[in-house]
Point group: C2
Chain length 251, copies 2
């Protein structure tokens, strides 16, 4: 069943009112009509099966039939802080990272980021990024849409990380030694509901100064398997492993 | 250190001779010279640190300094059989799947594959796919290059699967129930060195007939977390989980 995230103002007691892009999608792309069923997600994470009862050019209204009892979200909240990579790699990370259950994303300017964040285009970019995670959430049947936070410099990222009890960073040098820090050991000590921030370097990895600063701020270096992953593959490995650990192994 | 896969005929007793694209890459892209070090991988999986001693327009020769003792390969051999997806998604799966440790890939024609395999372009396509996995192997420091097998129809895939003691398929319907088959339970019974074939459906998943035929041929349905993954994300989740299970958790 097709799923739509409906903002707070769209919800009434037993009705939902859908406008904008989603109205267009239901009417013109899916060609749905009165009597068809959709799933509507409310901002706080709940979802309901609804029946469309009115399709107009301004809005679509639907009746709430049944609230769903779903467990689609990772039991831990994972934030991916990604050193700005080249090209459209960040968009791949946002789409796939959302499918894999990330709670939020923070792009940051790393020393070795080849691309520089253009503040003039920031609003347009962030709005595009938020569209990608919203669509990926709907497609993967998630019950909340991940946050895409505004772009940070490295110092602000370190400051921001103080909000997180668990801090890790993927560090290529750890993968080259036999005496590596274990991701599994760290995950085994994480409790349900806890917040994890995972820092991923850009192409070329962290500078030595960044790696030292991350360690000094309580980030634990982890390897993500013994092979060297591209910058955009690292967060996908991490999120899949966290899902496997908590949702499949049930550790 | 830059890594190159050198075919059998390039190896002499204590020397390596590199030709073709790799010669060009070392000379023109990396601009390496006599005295520079590279890692050369031999076809059977071993790798050696070598020092370049001659750069010519026809070949590059290097002396073998030291054979490396590496554990870069997954302890189980995973074959990803992927129902032909749209666009360049298969290329993404080949590149990322190689980074994540797959042993081989088999594209096959699924009932819901929108794209049809074009036999006239087969040779060119396969050669492109093999270039992608070779480059991804080098980049991720693997010691073997995964196989990309020729395109199969569904019947031939079922026949081929008889070579594999462990057979699984990602089945979306499993993710919608609470009584799902556990990937972790299956992996816990796999022994080091065993061969696993994992079958991934195209966009839209398997037809009911395909799912039944897979089950009848001993494929176990698994879910890959509770969220619905896109066709190209499913093999990445699976490979990351297998790596995490065997290489990080050490199960």
């Amino acid at each position: 069943m097709q799923r739509y995230f409906v903002p707070e103002e769209g919800w009434q007691e037993n009705m939902v009112r859908i406008i904008g892009d989603d109205r267009h999608h239901i009417d013109r792309v899916m060609r749905m009509q009165s009597g068809d069923s959709i799933i509507c997600n409310a901002p706080e994470g709940r979802a309901a099966v609804c029946t469309i009862n009115d399709v107009t050019d301004q809005y679509i209204s639907a009746t709430i039939d049944e609230w769903l009892d779903e467990m689609k979200e990772l039991p831990v909240e994972v934030t991916i802080a990604h050193g700005l990579p080249k090209g459209d790699k960040l968009e791949l990370v946002l789409q796939k990272g959302t499918e894999l259950g990330a709670a939020s994303f923070i792009p940051f300017q790393a020393g070795r980021s080849i691309v520089k964040w253009d503040q003039k285009k920031a609003e347009k970019k962030l709005s595009r990024y938020r569209k990608i995670v919203k669509e990926a959430s709907e497609q993967s049947h998630r019950t909340v849409v991940p946050e895409v936070e505004g772009f940070l410099d490295f110092e602000s990222l370190l400051k921001k990380s103080e909000d997180y009890p668990v801090k890790i960073f993927a560090y290529e040098d750890e993968a080259k030694t036999n005496d590596f820090h274990g991701l599994s050991g760290i995950l085994s000590n994480v409790e349900s509901g806890q917040k994890i921030i995972a820092c991923i370097g850009p192409e070329g990895g962290y500078t030595i100064e960044e790696a030292e600063a991350l360690k000094a701020h309580g980030f634990e270096p982890v390897r993500l398997g013994p092979r060297i992953l591209r910058t955009e593959t690292a967060p996908l490995y991490l999120l899949a492993s966290i899902s496997y650990h908590f949702e499949e192994l049930g550790c």
